[in-house]
Subunit: 426 residues, 2 copies
């Protein structure tokens, strides 16, 4: 808990409670605040006897030697970057629990069979550079290095991942690849970010996999016109059209038992008395099954152009005057198919959780699927992987008030440590 | 036409055609480009024998003496500021036609009975500082000087009207008031900005008045949450809610035979995988009658909170999961009641148009009401006022491709000149 709150001085966000630790976080990837947190991670793990390596995506690998070195290290990992209005636990808990694990091993003179490592992955959130899990994606060979390096930051600026990595001194020379930095396994402790554990009164989630998701950028083009002189029939109103699409995506999510969300929307030209001629928005769709996400993507590709053309796809245009058609373009930016974790890792976590929780453990453990993506999605393509979830208050995440009790953080760290030791022996 | 295109070098916008004059304009009020255009206006009118006065809102009055001075000048006026993606005619035509009028009077040694003036009003568009016609509003005593001076620019910055007036050297010492700068009359030549003249094959619109309008700022507050882990029921999605409101305002406009438009929308925090917790948007509603605008405003104030609370006001929530309630606040920023112009000015324009158009004139003239607001709305509260409209291509305005034929600009200027001379004699 000390490390969590100490490192949250870098990128501190909105205050939500009276105590000094009750603030959110705003530590966008590769910002000055992220550099400070990275420097701390390097310093601290080196002081605990680790060798550190920075790769071409700025991923930082801290490795503690084992008795033997003929197999790759067992890693724990997560991320130190946050959402623009995020909390103190998402990602941060996983990395600081890794550092805690290194401390426990050092304090107790533990020698592991093989090396043990902790990794801080870059820009997991996809909040500044709009591809989530991009740097574990490059490591896994799933995302080309060039695509990642050329990603531009979302908001005003013109910075790219490559320019920001260089600026803060984290553009490493080691190739970002599972071949240069192989892993024996990857365990990740994370807050659930949803309400299921809390609602069921459980303490530990044994994560079986991650649901599928896709990200799109949608651009609607209409025509800038005067709001006072252009009758409704003569408008090609890009924002009215985008509003219908957002509503429709919500309906598609409902009928498919899936999720659809728009988190970013920008319009042009942005004047009270000009009908917007252009709107760009993000669309994030998710479901447990790949086939559901694929079906929704197909429905969007078929329905959005109809909405842009003025058709009443939602059966909702009653008492609406149909304007002139808009154009729509739909770009798929990101695709993360459903992920299934490795049985060996799941088994290690299961045993660790039972051992940490004691006699009543079967009532406090829950098998579950992650709603959010995590770097473990990509590591699972190259090494045995699984995750440990702990409850967070009201399931709220990506919000300054995100909160995980000290005792739950501690229990998660305990299960993480034991999972790694069990896997090492295995 | 030379003056129009010459002065459009300051704040030149997007190219839409092959010729050098085929670009739009982006000359936001009190920008450096606006200062250049103002300097030109001062220089040019002074060289034509005018005395210039700058008032505390940066309005510039150029007055050419008449034979007598016991009555105030007959003014023509409009504005040199533009939309962020505006055209070369909106406002600019009216001011340059005023300068042309001064040239014709000078070239022909015309002595008017009373002084004749040309005024350039500040920030008519309300595009940079979000109150349209704000400086004629201060002149008329309808808007307090302090309100106007403290207006903040819409986009990133923190500049106010007062700070920008001072910065570009146009914070005049003369009080901005009809008492310090009285007008005998105010005539304004403007492009129609709508399609009616063109569709009816008419050349000159005799403007009888201006429709009513109100501007609102709407803020919707929900809760930032994770897009991947928060089920639809547990979301307070501020953007989904705002989308419903935008659609509903369009419906209200339809059923009231009125207009409703959203030109600005900003959201927080702005991340692909965070459900937006806060959305702010503008709403511009208009109708010929005050009572219609008032009824719509009342419907909005009653329906938006219901939409925020999750009620199915639009009967459109079928297959939509209702989330958690959002909060909504509605601020009225601006109110411009319906305006009726002065019969003497309307008569002067009528006679001028008939004289300029010759024998077929009755087929080429149209009485009409303005859909857009103009500074003439406020001058009409303090002196006889009316407007002259000329057609613009496809009725498009607030768009770089806004276009008015040379011959229509010339005809408008001719009608303006004759209206002023007739009023002067009258
Ligand atoms: N855990 C987390 O918030 N990851 C970001 C990727 C996602 O959007 O699921
Ligand atoms: N003419 C014009 O575009 N005026 C701006 C005020 C309005 O929105 O009507």
């Amino acid at each position: 808990m000390e490390d969590i709150h100490y490192t949250c001085q870098w990128g501190m966000g909105k205050k939500w409670g009276a105590r000094s630790t009750e603030t959110g976080m705003s530590r966008l990837a590769l910002s000055d605040a992220d550099k400070e947190a990275r420097d701390w991670f390097m310093r601290t793990t080196e002081a605990l006897g680790c060798n550190t390596t920075v790769d071409a995506m700025g991923n930082i690998f801290a490795v503690r030697p084992g008795i033997r070195s003929d197999k790759p290290p067992t890693f724990v990992g997560s991320h130190l970057d946050t959402q623009p209005t995020g909390g103190r636990y998402d990602g941060i808990l996983g990395v600081t629990a890794g550092v805690e694990l290194l401390k426990v091993l050092a304090d107790n003179w533990v020698e592991t069979e093989y090396p043990v490592g902790v990794v801080n992955w870059t820009n997991e959130e996809g909040a500044r550079f709009p591809l989530s899990m991009v740097s574990s994606g490059v490591w896994a060979g799933s995302i080309p290095l060039e695509t990642a390096h050329n990603l531009r930051e979302i908001h005003p600026g013109t910075a790219t991942m490559a320019s920001e990595l260089a600026r803060i001194g984290y553009l490493g020379k080691t190739p970002a690849s599972y071949e240069s930095m192989p892993m024996g396994a990857h365990f990740e402790l994370h807050i659930e970010q949803g309400p299921l554990l809390e609602m069921a009164n459980k303490k530990v989630g044994i994560v079986q996999g991650v649901q599928a998701y896709k990200w799109f950028t949608i651009t609607v083009k209409g025509r800038d016109t005067h709001t006072g002189t252009t009758d409704l029939k003569s408008r090609a109103d890009a924002l009215l059209t985008a509003s219908k699409m957002i509503l429709h995506s919500h309906r598609l999510a409902t009928t498919n038992s899936a999720l659809a969300s728009t988190g970013i929307l920008n319009l042009k030209p942005g004047s009270t008395n000009t009908v917007p001629g252009e709107v760009t928005f993000s669309l994030d769709i998710r479901a447990p099954k790949d086939s559901t996400v694929q079906r929704m993507a197909a429905q969007i590709k078929s329905d959005f152009p109809k909405i842009a053309a003025g058709q009443d796809v939602m059966n909702c245009n009653e008492n609406c005057i149909t304007g002139l058609p808009c154009e729509v373009s739909i770009t798929e930016d990101f695709d993360s198919p459903a992920t299934t974790f490795h049985p060996d890792c799941i088994a290690a976590v299961h045993q660790a959780a039972h051992s940490a929780l004691g006699s009543n453990s079967h009532n406090l453990i829950m098998d579950m699927v992650s709603g959010a993506g995590h770097d473990s999605v990509y590591t699972s393509k190259r090494c045995p992987t699984s995750m440990i979830f702990v409850p967070c208050r009201e399931g709220i995440s990506h919000n300054p008030a995100e909160f995980c009790k000290d005792e739950d953080c501690a229990l998660g760290a305990q299960v993480l440590l034991q999972s790694v030791l069990r896997f090492d022996r295995m």
